[in-house]
């Protein structure tokens, strides 16, 4: 990690950090169901060694002190309070991504879970996004393997515990790159899946594995990236459900099928912050114009993603989000009113903007010696809200792509259509047993 090293004590003496622009949303909307918690998991080839993971967690926490924080409540804003505590090491439960006790004093906002041959880390989005989580996770795995007696001679792409951390890692990148720009166009409300919700606890996972090479080959056949291909399949599957509901004569509210696709802004702007720095593009198909063939969907989505992920375009979302936070009236509102306003705006507007969420964490690269010790890597996205109902996240590692659907409904029709489309395209899919 490049950047000017800073004294750890200076950071700890500072005592607190402002929440980044994205994190400000989560304390207001987080609940026992909408936990805003995501999980990264490594399936190892051998059972986890308790003594090694305990030591590794403590060492790694020292390298990432900005994660050793808890949520504080000020008069106007929440903030992150330094608590100097490593994450808890707990046993993995059946339901992933359970809520954090964010209001509990000195409670860490991430935790390490172990069971059998699995090491997982769960983060609440207040702390970081998928990129930050994987950077921490890679460092934790590296330390764990070393402490377990494995020889790891190479460490490229890994933040080593002994390196100093830089000021850049705790920077609020949203504010750093904020510039006043015209806001993005207003979005119409999206159509939502009509399925009945599961009884509590609602969350159900479908985990699958597929070959990256084969998927890449199919995507290249359409001259698109894996993300563009899978988003198109996602929207095409949504279209099938939309049309079948229309045929049944159901009362359709909204006619836009729209997927939220997070974009890691660190790939576009020169910063290596470990806090949230993602924005979104919202590919869509408008069903008022008629139904689409898959080729039409993929062509539209390819051009849409190419155009919308352009830095200038996506910066409009950054500008819009940050300018709300900067308004004087909003800044001086007491926190309890802010929370009510944010929760109401999210419920009334935010959650209705898109039909589904599709996250691609990309390809995780580890040194060969570490790669040999890991069976697979996986990400579980945060549980979707009651409107969106299904979310999907993928990560690829060692030529295998793991796809995880989080579903809170009684139906798995979306997953079925999605995976059937892939198998029809010649991609072999393995559905994995839930832990």
């Amino acid at each position: 990690m490049e950047g000017k090293g800073i004294n750890k004590k200076t950071f700890q003496e500072r005592g607190w950090l402002k929440l980044d622009n994205c994190a400000k949303l989560f304390p207001a909307i987080t609940s026992s169901e909408l936990t805003s918690v995501f999980r990264v998991t490594a399936y190892l080839k051998k059972p986890v060694k308790y003594s090694a993971i305990r030591e590794a967690v403590e060492i790694t926490a020292g390298r990432f002190p900005y994660f050793s924080v808890s949520l504080g409540s000020g008069l106007f804003w929440h903030y992150l309070e330094f608590n100097n505590r490593p994450p808890r090491i707990l046993v993995e439960e059946d339901i992933p991504c359970t809520a954090f006790a964010i209001k509990r004093r000195n409670e860490p906002l991430y935790r390490v879970l172990v069971k059998s041959n699995r090491i997982s880390v769960e983060f609440i989005h207040i702390l970081t996004d998928g990129y930050g989580a994987f950077e921490y996770f890679k460092s934790l795995l590296y330390t764990y393997f070393k402490l377990s007696g494995n020889q790891i001679s190479k460490s490229e792409g890994i933040i080593l515990p002994e390196t100093p951390f830089s000021e850049e890692e705790i920077e609020d990148a949203y504010n750093k790159f904020f510039q006043k720009l015209p806001p993005p166009g207003k979005l119409e409300k999206a159509w939502h899946l009509p399925f009945r919700l599961n009884k509590k606890p609602r969350l159900r996972l479908i985990r699958t594995e597929m070959d990256v090479e084969k998927l890449l080959e199919v995507a290249r056949g359409y001259k698109v990236s894996i993300t563009e291909y899978l988003v198109s399949v996602y929207l095409f599957s949504l279209q099938k459900i939309y049309l079948s509901e229309k045929e049944k004569g159901g009362n359709q509210k909204g006619h836009i099928l729209r997927t939220e696709v997070p974009v890691n802004m660190r790939n576009k702007l020169p910063i290596a912050t470990m806090r949230n720095f993602s924005l979104f593009i919202l590919p869509e198909v408008d069903m008022r114009l008629g139904s689409y063939t898959f080729e039409e969907v993929i062509r539209m989505i390819h051009h849409f993603i190419q155009a919308e992920s352009d830095l200038k375009q996506i910066s409009r979302f950054l500008s819009s989000n940050v300018s709300h936070e900067k308004q004087f009236i909003i800044r001086i509102l007491p926190l309890f009113i802010k929370r009510l306003v944010i929760a109401a705006v999210y419920k009334g507007l935010g959650s209705k903007r898109f039909t589904g969420i599709f996250t691609n964490l990309g390809s995780v690269m580890l040194p060969g010696e570490m790669q040999d010790l890991i069976e697979s890597l996986e990400i579980v996205p945060p549980p979707p809200n009651l409107k969106v109902k299904v979310s999907c996240a993928i990560v690829s590692f060692n030529n295998k792509l793991r796809m995880c659907f989080c579903n809170i409904t009684e139906s798995n029709e979306l997953e079925r259509l999605f995976l059937k489309h892939l198998t029809d395209s010649g991609i072999h899919i393995k559905i994995l047993k839930n832990n």
Binding site: P47, L90, E93, A101, K115, S116, N117
Partner: protein, 232 residues
């Protein structure tokens, strides 16, 4: 290799108990519940802490109220008279809150606690008041009658196959029965003989509502659950 039978992690040979889940050779170790082994344990711990803080806060408010009432009565009234009523009311309210906060999911303990609080409050009022004593003849029987009907409703609710409109109908019938018993007890205390009048009117008015609810439950909406029907 020493592997925990519950969480499957490898433990050092010298470790007899898994530090993660507290299991010892496949059996949970005594006192395991006090440890924080799972993510949901933290949430439950936080709930208990919040409840305790709330209870302590209500205690401070309640006992400040008692102190204020007693001192005001002492200073202005030159003795503790009306403040005794206020103090007993505040203590009873605090006990009420305590039982609701700590025994909410244990209906029998909650009913026992709340009835004991009501009886304590009425007995204290009776002892403090200088008028004719009424606790044994009026306060105690009316409270017991109320407890009886509440218990009946709870039993029905717990054992009913479909918790539907029949529960509401039974609550209405219980209210009617409670009104009649109350009038009987009061008549006996005041006049020495029983002359049931207003409670009968109340019961007759309630009866058709109960019958309609029973009809709706058994003939039209059998299987409809109250929580689904009234969910907001």
């Amino acid at each position: 290799m020493n592997i925990c039978s519950n969480c499957g992690v490898e433990l050092e040979e010298s470790l007899m108990q898994c530090p993660l889940c507290g299991m010892n050779s496949g059996e949970p170790v005594a006192g395991k519940t006090e440890k924080l082994n799972y993510p949901s344990d933290i949430i439950n711990l936080h709930k208990r802490e919040v409840r305790k803080h709330l209870w302590e806060l209500t205690g401070i408010i309640a006992f400040s109220g008692i102190a204020v009432c007693t001192i005001v009565d002492l200073v202005i009234g030159k003795g503790v008279r009306w403040a005794l009523f206020a103090d007993v009311s505040i203590i009873s309210a605090w006990l009420f809150l305590t039982f609701i906060m700590y025994k909410f999911r244990k209906p029998w303990m909650l009913i026992t606690g709340l009835s004991a609080t009501v009886l304590f409050m009425l007995l204290m009022f009776d002892l403090i008041s200088v008028d004719k004593k009424w606790f044994i003849q009026v306060g105690l029987p009316i409270t017991l009658a109320l407890v009886f009907f509440v218990c009946m409703v709870v039993i029905l609710y717990r054992y009913a196959r479909f918790k539907g409109f029949d529960i509401l109908a039974f609550i209405f019938l219980s209210v009617a029965g409670f009104c009649i018993l109350t009038e009987i007890i009061i008549d006996k205390y005041i006049a020495g003989h029983i002359n049931v009048r207003w409670s009968l009117l109340a019961a007759v008015s309630i009866l058709p509502i109960s019958l309609i609810l029973f009809f709706v439950h058994y003939r039209m909406k059998k299987g409809n659950k109250l929580d689904s029907f009234f969910h907001v």
